[in-house]
């Protein structure tokens, strides 16, 4: 089974993240980036499926030069090959444009039996790209999988909701997004790190995919961030010494904040 895993290079949530003042897009230049943690689950699931059977895992990303690091990390984990779509015109693209580029890249790869994604990116956190991508590729859209099994030409997932867990079956090829409950992603071994250096990574531009630059980027975005305000610094908390009435005062505080 051949699997394409879509991954994103995101600003490290541990560092100071911000926006580019010139166009209010995410600042990707002045911050350390990494493979989105939520995408690691998708990579892991792909590796498990291929290890249990056969086929190969291709990891696909869109992003600037540094986004190659996300591909490299997935290759170090064990993916077989990488595709990095990079083009200055893509900068500022929204979810519809991102899904367009991903779809064309997957077509150029030659399609896949299964397309896997994370449940959301850790920067945009919109969770819409998987749905849009499935639509563009004409694939069954099976999202938020916390369990995944493939049997012959069907894929079955469990989706955990607030009230119930659903079991959903789709025919392959399909697109599945996975949650952070599905597995425990491996971390690269020494052998994995060394092996990744020899794995092939294709580098494609928009022209390679037959996409006109007017279809992507900030100009083609359906939404625009008008204004950005930095979150105010955290206020100093109030320390309440317990003089026998600690419980009551805690309840009072929670009630005043409408927590209870």
């Amino acid at each position: 089974m051949n699997i394409v895993v879509c991954v994103k290079y995101v600003p490290d949530a541990q560092s100071e993240r911000g926006f580019d003042a010139s166009d209010n897009t995410t600042d990707r230049e002045n911050v350390d980036g990494l493979l989105s943690e939520l995408d690691e689950y998708a990579v892991e699931e792909a590796l498990k499926l291929v290890e249990a059977g056969e086929g190969e895992v291709t990891v696909l990303t869109i992003g600037p030069e540094q986004a190659a690091d996300a591909v490299k990390k997935a290759l170090q984990m064990g993916a077989d090959k990488g595709v990095h779509v990079s083009d200055a015109a893509i900068s500022g693209s929204d979810a519809p444009a991102t899904s367009l580029v991903l779809a064309e890249a997957i077509r150029k790869i030659g399609g896949a039996d299964l397309v896997l994604t994370g449940m959301a990116s850790t920067d945009g956190s919109m969770s819409v790209v998987p749905a849009m991508l499935a639509e563009r590729l004409g694939l069954p859209q099976v999202t938020f999988a916390s369990e995944l099994t493939v049997d012959g030409d069907t894929v079955t997932i469990r989706r955990d909701g607030d009230a119930a867990s659903e079991t959903i079956t789709a025919s392959l090829p399909a697109l599945v997004s996975v949650t952070d409950q599905i597995n425990e992603p491996r971390y690269p071994s020494f052998k994995g790190i060394m092996a990744a250096k020899k794995k092939p990574v294709e580098r494609w531009s928009l022209a390679d995919l037959g996409i006109d630059s007017s279809q992507v980027g900030l100009g083609a975005a359906w939404t625009k961030v008008e204004d950005v305000t930095k979150r105010p610094p955290r206020q100093q908390g109030t320390i309440v010494p317990d003089e026998g009435d600690g419980g009551a005062r805690l309840a009072e505080f929670l009630a005043s904040q409408k927590f209870i």
């Binding site: 490299k72 990390k73 170090q76 425990e184 491996r186 971390y187 690269p188 071994s189 020494f190 052998k191 790190i193 060394m194 250096k197």
Partner: protein, 381 residues
């Protein structure tokens, strides 16, 4: 020597291993006085931690020594020093002689499972009456046909209750002093092999350090590592590698303690401002970090010289001596800046303070390092 992107990637993996597989269990293992080595070691092996420099034919990674430095630094950042020490014993203390001097048969039988994390190993040199002075060692292996019959006691043995085999140093002749010793692989399931007690220690409490008793334990002479009678010399080389582990891991321990204390002094408010507004506090932390940087640079020099095949006795002894003293000073200062809170067992500083005391004792006490260095300088010692 400079570390590359590959080193950084491997460092990230080891850090994740520590964060995911060790730190969440640290309190539990500290309280229990042991950690489940047979469960943890296969996970360490999966990322290559137990055989970095070893021959791929036996499951090793075939890496150069610099990856061992990176791994040890990260193991030093553990919240439970006993576990890091146990991994260090497996990878840099109990197995180097076997890798270097062992036969292919020995390596297949004993080294490969150790690299895979299927076997847990110990280094059994120290005895109740002989600490750093290995020349006074009394455990004796008497030859009987194709077997050694071994009788004696071994003390302070890391992984002692969980080990599947130990790399044991015993007298195999009556020559006395440094002569007539051999390194022998002793499987712990042999009749006559026993653990007389586990040791209640000040620190490194997650490590099951034990006293071992051998009462006419019979093992094949074929289990001798290298040359019969050259055990002392081979063990001295193995000790050098142990010193490097101690020095490398200390850098990680100090880095993490200073990082945590820097964050704390920003948050902690005293006399109307953060503790970090006191110049004494910031200068002291900067001063200690500067010393850590010097040790880090020195360690890289040790690593480079070792890779080049040079005799690193002096460099490694300087590193071990410096590391032991520095990490104690760092732990003491970090605890001090946490005030009363730092003295509580619930604060990380208390455990660290207890753990690091070993750094000037284990793997050759400070005084032994000084003796080595004085002799190298031509002084009577």
């Amino acid at each position: 020597m400079r570390l590359t992107e590959d080193h950084h990637a491997f460092r990230a993996s080891v850090r994740r291993f520590v964060d995911v597989e060790v730190n969440p269990h640290a309190d539990e293992w500290e309280a229990a006085g042991r950690f489940p080595a047979h469960e943890l070691f296969p996970k360490a092996a999966a990322i290559g931690l137990l055989g970095l420099e070893y021959d791929p034919e036996y499951g090793g990674e075939g890496a150069d020594h610099s990856y061992q430095l990176v791994a040890a630094e990260e193991l030093g950042r553990m919240d439970s020093a006993g576990v890091g020490m146990a991994i260090g014993v497996q990878s840099m203390m109990a197995t180097p002689s076997l890798h270097r001097f062992g036969t292919p048969e020995q390596k297949r039988e004993f080294l490969a499972p150790a690299i895979a994390g299927e076997s847990v190993t110990s280094i059994a040199v120290t005895e109740p009456d002989t600490g750093s002075d290995v020349s006074r060692l009394r455990t004796r292996a008497v030859r009987d046909g194709d077997d050694w019959v071994i009788t004696g006691r071994k003390m302070y043995i890391t992984n002692g209750t969980q080990a599947d085999w130990v790399c044991l140093l015993a007298r195999t002749s009556d020559e006395g002093g440094h002569k007539g010793m051999s390194q022998i692989i002793v499987p712990t399931d042999r009749p006559g092999f026993g653990v007389s007690r586990t040791l209640d220690k000040l620190g490194n409490r997650s490590s099951d350090t034990a006293e071992l008793v051998l009462d006419e334990v019979r093992v094949p002479v074929a289990n001798t590592i290298g040359e019969i009678g050259r055990g002392f010399q081979q063990q001295m080389e193995q000790f050098i590698i142990e010193r490097m582990f101690a020095a490398y891991s200390t850098v990680g321990t100090c880095d993490k303690a200073l990082e945590r204390t820097r964050a704390f002094v920003h948050e902690r408010s005293v006399f109307g401002g953060p503790l970090a507004s006191k110049q004494y506090v910031t200068f002291r932390l900067a001063e200690l970090q500067a010393q850590v940087e010097l040790l880090r640079s020195h360690n890289l020099a040790v690593c480079e010289a070792y890779e080049a095949g040079e005799d690193i006795t002096r460099l490694a002894s300087v590193a071990k001596l410096t590391a032991g003293r520095l990490v104690r000073e760092v732990a003491d200062t970090c605890l001090q800046f946490h005030g009363g809170m730092g003295y509580l067992e619930e604060t990380w500083t208390a455990r660290l303070y207890r753990d690091v005391r070993l750094a000037s004792i284990g793997g050759g006490a400070d005084e032994v390092m000084l003796q080595v260095l004085a002799r190298l300088d031509g002084l009577p010692a």
